[in-house]
């Protein structure tokens, strides 16, 4: 029986987006006692916004989405402490500073931290990743007054770090294993567009290059790095952005099965009764075919939390993620993706691709050649409506159906130039026997027709 009772105590370790979303959703329909424990910060903050604090766009208090009064009024208790260990036999948490905490249900939402790959010199001063608030404080100290930095890894945190460092006038070199930036995710054209854009922002990219070792000066600080190909790059800071690993070390001896992360089923149940784990720190024992073992995004954290909340509230349903979506920003260029667009297409896949002459905007619609079914959408510098893209993918639209509704999907600001015409031209060239619709529906008509809204009362 998963349902939490009113007199029971739900303890959540971790106040990231997964932990707080869970607390909020459970509180909505249950009067149980809820406590969130976090060693990182008293209040939940937006992890994805840490970069803006470093760049001076915001202060730390500005990236805190809910003020203190919110948690008080919601009767969600906040404990700012570190969990030394979990005693599942006594349903007890041992804290570093405060008294032990008893739980009836425990949710582990402890997140992840930078993954290191045993490089010589990786513990030197000036070498670090960027995940937590403490990492940001360390980066503030590590980059004070320096001139050159090297970033290892070409992913989303890597480019964030590059942007941060550039805002302080620090010269940045990125080491990227692939032949283009983020090419393990982006198809060649998109990856090239983004790679060029990053270079235009004064970042030096060393492609197909990896870290060999990090060299120290007399004071034990990083002085330079050696690359695989034998180059020596002088630098006073090394950013490690080669991925993250789940924070599970404190669970040793707790009797909770872990592998890379905490092993869970599709209900987020761990090997121990009344103990759940979700988001970055969790690892699915049996992921659905084609689905990853670990999902470590802001958005999936929220989806995990919503699914687990529903189970804890007595509506036991397995986690089923809907169509994939993600977004990011590379300096000036926004990125959105809906559905699945792999880096390399199979024989069965075909796409419509458009990009502007300046190479700052691109749209790709990927579809299945045999069935013409829409598989996914990649957007650079152009915004589409999430609700409508989700609807297309969920309903299994064909490319032809999509084209009927294409003009309604744009989400760019008013007065912006529209690019759907260009895509439609390509489409009618490729499918000459298709007829254009008499009249295109607007977003508002489609929203009404498909019921793509839910009533809300909170404004």
């Amino acid at each position: 029986m998963n349902q939490i009772k009113a007199q029971e105590h739900l303890v959540i370790i971790g106040n990231g987006i997964a932990g707080v979303t869970l607390a909020q959703r459970v509180r909505k329909r249950s009067a149980c006692r809820i406590t969130i424990v976090s060693a990182e910060s008293q209040l939940h903050f937006s992890r994805t916004a840490l970069m803006y604090v470093y760049m001076g766009h915001m202060r730390f208090q500005d990236i805190v989405p809910y003020a203190y009064w919110y948690w008080q009024e919601q009767k969600i208790e906040l404990v700012h402490d570190y969990v030394e260990r979990v005693e599942t036999s006594h349903k007890k948490l041992v804290l570093r500073n405060g008294p032990p905490l008893h739980y009836d249900k425990l949710v582990l939402a402890t997140g992840s931290s930078a993954a290191y790959y045993d490089w010589p010199g990786q513990t030197l001063k000036g070498v670090q990743g960027l995940v937590s608030l403490q990492d940001l404080e360390l980066m503030e100290a590590n980059t004070a007054g320096i001139q050159q930095a090297v970033i290892i890894g070409g992913g989303l945190i890597g480019v964030e770090m590059a942007e941060m460092l550039r805002s302080r006038g620090i010269a940045v070199t990125m080491l990227i294993r692939d032949k283009l930036y983020w090419h393990n995710v982006l198809p060649e054209e998109e990856a090239r567009l983004v790679t060029d854009h990053i270079r235009q922002h004064g970042i030096e990219l060393l492609l197909q290059e990896e870290l060999q070792e990090i060299l120290a000066d007399e004071a034990g600080r990083v002085r330079a790095i050696h690359t695989r190909s034998g180059k020596e790059l002088p630098c006073q800071f090394v950013g490690i952005t080669t991925g993250v690993k789940p924070n599970v070390d404190f669970l040793k001896g707790a009797g909770i099965e872990t592998e890379k992360g905490i092993l869970v089923n599709e209900f987020f149940e761990t090997s121990q009764p009344d103990v759940y784990a979700l988001s970055d720190c969790a690892q699915f024992r049996n992921p659905a075919p084609g689905q990853p073992m670990m999902e470590q995004l802001w958005y999936t954290a929220r989806l995990h939390a919503e699914a687990l909340a529903s189970t804890l509230l007595g509506d036991r349903k397995p986690y089923q993620r809907g169509p994939w979506f993600n977004s990011a920003k590379f300096f000036d260029i926004e990125y959105q993706t809906y559905g699945t667009v792999p880096a390399v297409f199979t024989e069965q896949q075909e796409s419509l691709y458009w990009q502007n002459a300046k190479a700052t905007k691109a749209i790709r619609l990927l579809y299945d050649k045999a069935t013409d079914k829409l598989l996914g959408i990649n957007l650079l510098g152009v915004r589409y409506r999430h609700d409508l893209c989700h609807h297309w993918l969920q309903q299994g639209y064909t490319l032809h159906q999509v084209m009927q509704e294409l003009p309604a999907v744009n989400f760019d600001p008013e007065f912006f130039q529209r690019y759907e015409e260009e895509l439609l031209r390509q489409y009618y060239t490729r499918f000459p026997d298709r007829q254009p619709p008499v009249k295109h529906s607007t977003w508002w008509e489609l929203r009404q027709r498909f019921g793509l809204f839910s009533d809300s009362t909170s404004c």
């Binding site: 942007e163 805002s167 609700d387 008013e414 007065f415 009533d455 909170s458």
Partner: protein
Amino acid sequence: MPTAVISQTATTPSTTSQNVVKMVGLVLISIGLLGILVAAVGADYLSPVFTGLGGTAVFTVGALLYIWQSRRRKSPAEQNHGLWQQEATSRGASAWVIGFVLTGFYVLLYWFPDTLQGLIQAMEPLSQWLRNRPSDQWFLYGTFYTLAVLIMGVYALLKYRNSRYHIIRTISVMFFQLGFAFLLPGLLLMLNQPEYYFSYFWPLKYDYLFPSTMEYLVRDGAALGVFMIFWGAVFSFLATPVLTYFYGKRWYCSWVCGCGGLAETAGDPYRHLSDKSRKAWRWEVAIIYPILGFVILTTLFLWINSWSEGRLLGDLSGGFAQTYGFFIGAMFSGVVGVGFYPLMGNRVWCRFGCPMAAYLGLLQKHFSRFRITTNGGQCISCGNCSTYCEMGIDVRWYAQQGEPIIRAACVGCGICAHVCPRGVLKLENGPREGRYAGTTLISRDELRILD
């Protein structure tokens, strides 16, 4: 916190030439300021026209050079770098100095205009050329105000240059300030017509529907005066509700209004200083609606008084009008409204005081097609939208729950949508049916900030 590092080892020739341009700009700004100072205090020694008007011109050129160089160098996403780290934009010492100087200038302007004689004389040729009459403190103020909107308009155009929406909007506020609030009123005076601002309406320009103003317009303006009264009344009672129904409050507050024009240009570097707390919102509703009530009552009283020829209310209505004029018209909208830019943000007046904003806000909230749509479940709660909301709206509160933002205060400037790093927000006008409905892709809290 260190904000900049002693540049990179190699300085390229292009950065050197950029620095030269910036330095020339700064030198011209300084010379211009000195000229203005000499005009203000040394009118007996040097012609204030030469030093004052000349200084203003030199200052303008210098400021434009500096702005051009420093804004163009930054890409769109870099425009807000360091705002919370630099003194001038984070309530540091220099922000307080600018705040005190601006506040002091307003105090002199309203209550001790004689102290500004040198500067008033400096504007004499411009006043004669434009209006065919001597310069006064309000002409001086109008000139400085318009220049501030134009110079900082260029700043806003460069800062938001990747957005057509902001380019058009900025040009619109520059146009209405220069044309409707500066040149046209001057031209009317030149033609011996009543001075009239076609871009200001009751209740912001509260005296435009006062009986005394109407009498004066009809007496001095004849047919044109009648048109002016017609224009004002139509805009206050017909055009405002209709335009607000279709486009929201923004058609006025961030496209036409002079106060909004200054806020969106000269005030832009201070937009993040507005208070987003729940307490601030409580103050806002506790102040702005009573002010709207105050101005409506005052207008009614004046009319009752005028119709009854003073028999019904005696001096009461005149007292109301004077009190409103002093506390709201001068103290609040001028001294506090602009003087406190560097401390409390650029929309203090618009948010807490302006009766027009209150009126438009009620229309926007209840009778409008306007809303800011949140794009599905895409919000990452980063807080850029709330931080850069000049009206102190906690935009993120709604965005992270996948809800549209419909708030009486929202002036529709569109900066929340511009600074959002995920493109989650969009200003749009749509059907009123289901206007408050959010996305289905995210489940929501049902909590209201203000109950």
